[in-house]
Every structure is written in C-alpha cells, then in structure tokens.
Symmetry: C2
Subunit: 425 residues, 2 copies
C-alpha cells in the first residue's frame, strides 16, 4: 500500500562491500542503517514513512568470497566467524528528499556510519550518481578547465607549472625572487607548497605583497599573468580575507588543503570567490590507500566537484608516490569526465615529473586539459630554469604532434638535455 | 654552524610506519618531505634555513618486520621488492614556526602527503603532542564536560540519552511528540540522527519550532532542560544561523557531522557559538579501520579538541559496530585525559546500549563524565520509555555503588525487567 503516484527522485552510491553475512543481507542492512531502518520496529515507523524514506538496493554484483576478513571486526568475532566472507559490488539508491542540498548530510548518508558496521569487513565508496537537477543545487566549479585557462591565458596545451621549493623556510623576498626566475623562464603556473600558508617567518600578506608585483611585471611582458596558486588555507575569515587580497592584488587563483579545511569551508569559499580554487588533496592517502576501505578517487572528485573545486591533484605517472600509473590516469579521466552537468575539473599532475611523462599522458588521455607540475624537472634542468620549462613544453609539443621525444629532441636542445640528464634517474 | 641560541619550539607527531627502506631512512624521508626537504638540493635551501625549518626525528622504536607489504606501492614494485618491510614507531618534532596557529596546515604537516610516500607501505598517525602555549592559540572546547553538565543540569552521573528514531522520515510534529515522550520519561539528552539536518519533509526551522516548546515545558517541570543536540550541519551561513535560532529558542546544544563540515567550519562555529558542540564522527571508520593507515582516535580527538568540539562519539561496549571494547574504552580515556591545557571532551557512548554496559564502563573508566545513549535499550523497554530511562539510570547507580546489576535489580523493577528482556539479545 502506497500513496506515491510518481517515482521518487533518487541519488545512487556504489560500494565494494565484504561482510560476514550474505551480500543481499548486508546491502539491506546498509540501506536500512543509512535511511529509515533500525534494529527495532519503532512506533512512528509506518509503512508510508518507510516507502517515502527508505533506501533501495538496486544491484548486487557478487565477487569471489574471502576465507579471512579483510578488516577485523570484534562484532563478527563475538558472533562467531562465518566460513566465508561475502564480497560484492552493490548499488544503493537513496531518496533525494532524505538529504536535500546539504553536502555534509550527503556525506553522512553515503559515507557515514556504514564504514563501521559490525557485519562489514571491508567497505569502499566506489562511485556516486546524482541527477543533474539535484547536482545543480550544489555550488559546482565556477571556473573548471575553461575558466582556469582563461585566467591563465594558456590554451590548447597543458599548463606547465612548478611548486615553490623548499616547501618551508623561504622568506617572502626569497619566494618573490624564485617566482621572478620562474616567470622569466616562461612558466604558466606556480603553486605554494601545502605546508606553507601563514607561518611567522613568511606571513601570507607579506608573501602576497612580495610576489604579486613580480607577477604583474611579467604579465605586462608576457601578455598573460602566470597563475600563482597561493595557499590561503586557514580559518573561514582568513580564507575570505586572503581571497579578497589576492583578487585585489590582481592574482588569478587561490589554493586550499581541501581535506583539512573541509567541505563546508570550500563551499563557503566557492560562494564568495571570484577566482578558481586549486584543490590540494594532501591527506588523501589516508582515505584511499587500502583497497577495501574509504573512497575511490572517482567518488571523491565528484564530492569536491559538488563543493566547487576547479583544479584537483591526481599525482603523476612514475611519481615518488605509491600510486600505480593506471590509477593516476583513471583519476585524471574522472576529473575530465562529465558529471551531472557540472564543469569538469582540471587534473593536476605532480611528483617526480619532467618532460618524459608527456607522451604517455597524452596517449592515454587524448587531452591537454591539465596541469603538469615539475619540481626538479624544471629547477634541476642542467641548463637552468628556462630550459627546464622549455623542455616540458617541448615534451608536450612532441606528444601532441605524435613525434617521439627522441626525434623531437634532435631539433630542441632543452628537451635533448633533459633526456640526457633525467632519464634513468 | 647555527645561529640559534635557544631551543626551537616544537610540536611532535608519533607514527606507526612500515617501509621498503630501513626505519631510520624512512623517518628522515618523512621529516624532510614534511618540512624543508626535497629530492634535489635547491638554491635557496641554506644550512640556516634547514636548521630553522627542518623537522627532526626524535625517536625510532623498531617493531618486527614484515615479509609482505601491508599496503601496495607501485613505487616499491618499480624499484624492486626488498627482502623485508621495516616497521617502527617513530616520533618526529616539527618547528611550530613552520605552521603557526593554523589547523589545516597543522593537518597538512602531520597528516598530509606522507600517507602517499612511495617507500611507505603502512603509516598511521598514533599521537600528537603540542606545548600548552601553542595549543592555547587554537580555539579549544568552550564547554567540555563541565560546561555540558551545566547546560544539561545533570551532575555526578552520566547523561542518559537517546537518538531520535527512525533516523529519517519523521515530520517535525512526530519528532516533537517523541521528544515529549522522552522528556516525560525523564531523559537527560536527545540527539538527532546524523542523517537528518534540513530535509524537505522536516526542515530544520520547523523541527526546532516544534521541539523547543516541548523541551521548555518539561524544563519548567524538571528544573532542568533536557539537552537536545539538534543537527545543524550545513553550509557555514546555515550553521551560524541555526545555532542562533537554537540559542534564541532556549536550546542548549548543537550537533555537527564534524568530518564532513570539516575543521575550518567547526572552528568557525566554535568562535561564534554560545552553546556546546556535539561532534558526530560519522565516516570515522574510513579514517581508522585499517590498523596500518589513517588516524588513531587518540590523535583524532586531539585535533578536534583543538578545533573546539565539546562532546565526541566513541561507539559503545558490545555495540553493533566493528570496534573492540578495549578500543572504545581507550577512546573514552583519550577524551577524558588532559591535553595541552585544553578542556577534556565528554565521550558519547552509543549503539546497542542498555543498562548492562554501565558496570563495565564505570569499572574501566572510574568516571561518570560521559553520555550513555540507548535506542532500543530505552524505547524498546517492555514497560515503556520511562522504565527504559530508569533502567539505564539504575544501571549506573548500581555501577557507581559497586553493587551488581542483579542485586540492584531486586529492588528496582525497571532494571529487573531490562535484565530479563534484553540480556542475551
């Protein structure tokens, strides 16, 4: 018996789940726990309420079971270990009316207590699917790829960039000198390290004040201003004030440590901002490194896209990080993909990068809508920073023209020196 | 050669780390990566800068090595698997001057990219230590245990509470009716489910408007107002506005999903708030369930204490969640412990709770500075909600008097019925 006349509007979440009970059962437990269910039949919980409110198991794709639990559960141990632990990919549909346009409650629904359920011995949020009219109720990226390119004045090739290093310790004046060298070298994009925001030895305001005149000077020369993703992470008031100071000084980007300022802060900044938001995902490893726990990047980037980030880190091919190259490419593809009518994100590649990765990136992505950041690959080039930037750009020219790096290097000395110097390192 | 004349002020982080390289080496890599280090020697990176800025490895306590990596690393695979993976607890000291009073940068420093380092095959933040004068630069809890008790008018025993159920689907009027029943039964504390904040069928304002007159009416009768942790999670503006509406209506608490609104939002709310902040940690499982990744609760509660949460969830003994009882007790002990001069947090026990857990909790903690929340254990009591509340309170009386539940039950019918009804479920 139901009074519903039209289908409920729903959003969907897909999980990898492993459990001590059959997958059909654990899917029902999760759907119940994350909507109207509980372990007792309650007075107010009528059939009508359930019909309106309960989540629905859409799909269960069984996977081979395990003989041992992937993650320990005292609850399972207390109730006696089963012979096998069931595994499946499951999809659950939640009524949009349970949540509304509320990002933290969306998270509490798709990524809340369910990670802790006693029956569950592995659970990972694999993907999310929102109808476009629901997604449109969130902020979404204001700039995305097109807006970032417009701000940077760089089109039809990747933004070649670097990170201010050493991460910690440079005075504002030293930072400005380094920025000057980078701009002289023709860099497209510079970012602060995530470790520096407003330390006593290089306060935000002084860093901004030292660097911006350098950028403006080079903008006059270059006809475009190198984009500086200055790290504004801090309190809500500080971030808004810093954004305004950057805007006032003619800057074109702001950066935040998204995981640690959090969703509500990024949404708030997005509402206020007139500049693209560079999303630094430091800490992300804790959310994703175990394949049976946490978040896939595919889901993660959708959540941050809802919040309004424009640029998002994805590591790099053959980086110094743990991540396999295929996973890095999948992350970039996710950023570049359509999602519920929201603007795509510009993926940011970094760590251990130099010209060599360009052909692989372009072959796999067929896109130059990305940032390619190199530290040593630019600053450590044997012929200096300008040659470092040129070698990166030449690597991409070769990649996009379908010419091998070696062939292109014959007529491009910066790339040639990079190949000789960095290969095999 | 150093120009330092006095010891640097530092904070410290302790980790479990497993790596493909010896622990001494990985500790140096982490210290370098998270302060002034990089993979190249850089022009501006003078000895003076390093001396001022670099993190310092304080201690390495070796643990037995592993033959297989706990977490996969493509970086390790690319460089050839070592014979063993080294494990240790390490402690690193960071200059306070690297960070300043900036919570997101503190997180980026102690819990940032280091989770993703290629050499690392397990990494968990175990603990944090901040000097009191540094911690004092953060908000910290405004209320803590004492302030929460004052607001609730409950002293020298735990706050007995419950969660509005079903989690989803009740109208504001139905919520108010349930609150009325709970207050009639003498409850100390009621909280919203984390799944409900401001859905179309029960908008925040209407829920508040429906429930508050009920609470005020009972306050007149009881001489104390039952504390209602109403879920204000949402955008920054919504949370401030909702806090003000709660305050205006005479409410005594607000609740937020801390992981999903985020640190900057909780700090901002704390600065503004005149009410205790009930910290709901839904999603926490994703941060902690793998023992070789993420965060220990000990570190986690310190970070949220810095942000200014007053009450924090710790699961419950013999709960429906995965967590072993000893871990739950350790979490409660962490909340109750001194940390850098900040107020202790009130731990919130819930899930599968009824009177039976009281003696174990009191024996282990020797404290009643906690919230003990029961759903079915109160609402499902065979003699009704009032008997449910009484049975919980009687359980605590027995525990604090050192009398067994069975003995106390002889003269306390609500507890007697609870024992007969719930035991063995």
């Amino acid at each position: 018996m139901t009074t519903q006349t039209s289908p409920r509007a729903e959003f969907r979440a897909r999980y990898l789940v492993e459990s001590a009970v059959p997958s059909e059962k654990v899917a029902q437990v999760i759907a119940g726990e994350q909507s109207s269910g509980t372990f007792l039949s309650l007075p107010g919980e009528t059939e009508q309420l359930k019909e309106r409110s309960r989540a629905r198991v859409v799909r269960i794709d069984p996977l081979p079971p395990m003989l041992e639990p992937t993650l320990a559960s005292a609850h399972v141990a207390r109730h006696g270990n089963p012979a096998v632990f069931h595994r499946a990919e499951i999809e659950i549909a939640f009524p949009i009316a349970n949540v509304g346009a509320n990002l933290s409650t969306l998270l509490a629904t798709v990524a809340g207590n369910l990670f802790e359920l006693g029956e569950v011995t592995a659970l990972r949020l694999l993907d999310l699917d929102l109808p476009a009219d629901y997604a449109a109720q969130f902020q979404g990226p204001a700039f995305g790829i097109e807006g970032t390119r417009r701000q940077a004045g760089v089109f039809e090739r990747p933004l070649i960039g670097t990170i201010i290093k050493p991460s910690i310790g440079l005075t504002p004046q030293q930072t400005a000198e380094l920025a000057d060298d980078l701009c002289t070298a023709g860099i497209d994009f510079i970012k602060d390290d995530e470790l520096i925001a407003d330390p006593p030895y290089a306060p935000f305001d002084e860093r901004l004040k030292a660097v911006m005149p350098v950028l403006r000077r080079h903008a006059d020369r270059l006809g475009r201003m190198p984009m500086y993703a200055i790290n504004i992470s801090g309190s809500i008031d500080e971030m808004l004030r810093r954004h305004d100071a950057v805007l006032e000084a003619g800057g074109t980007c702001v950066m935040v440590s998204i995981n640690w300022v959090g969703f509500a802060a990024v949404e708030h900044l997005r509402r206020h901002a007139r500049l693209p938001i560079h999303g630094h995902r430091n800490g992300w490893g804790a959310f994703t490194r175990h394949p049976g726990l946490g978040f896939s990047f595919k889901a993660y980037q959708k959540l941050w896209r809802l919040a309004g980030v424009d640029q998002l880190h994805v590591n790099g091919l053959r980086s110094k990080f743990w991540e396999p190259d295929e996973s890095v490419l999948d992350s970039a593809r996710a950023c570049l993909s359509d999602f519920a009518g929201l603007k795509p994100l510009m993926p940011v590649f970094s760590s251990g990068q130099w010209a060599s990765q360009a052909p692989d990136m372009y072959r796999e992505l067929r896109s130059s809508d990305l940032m390619h950041l190199a530290g040593g690959g630019i600053i450590g080039h044997p012929d200096g920073i300008a040659a470092g930037v040129n070698s990166m750009r030449e690597g991409w020219e070769a990649a996009m023209q379908g010419v091998s790096l070696e062939a292109y290097a014959r007529t491009h000395p910066a790339l040639r020196r990079a190949l000789a110097h960095f290969a095999g390192r």
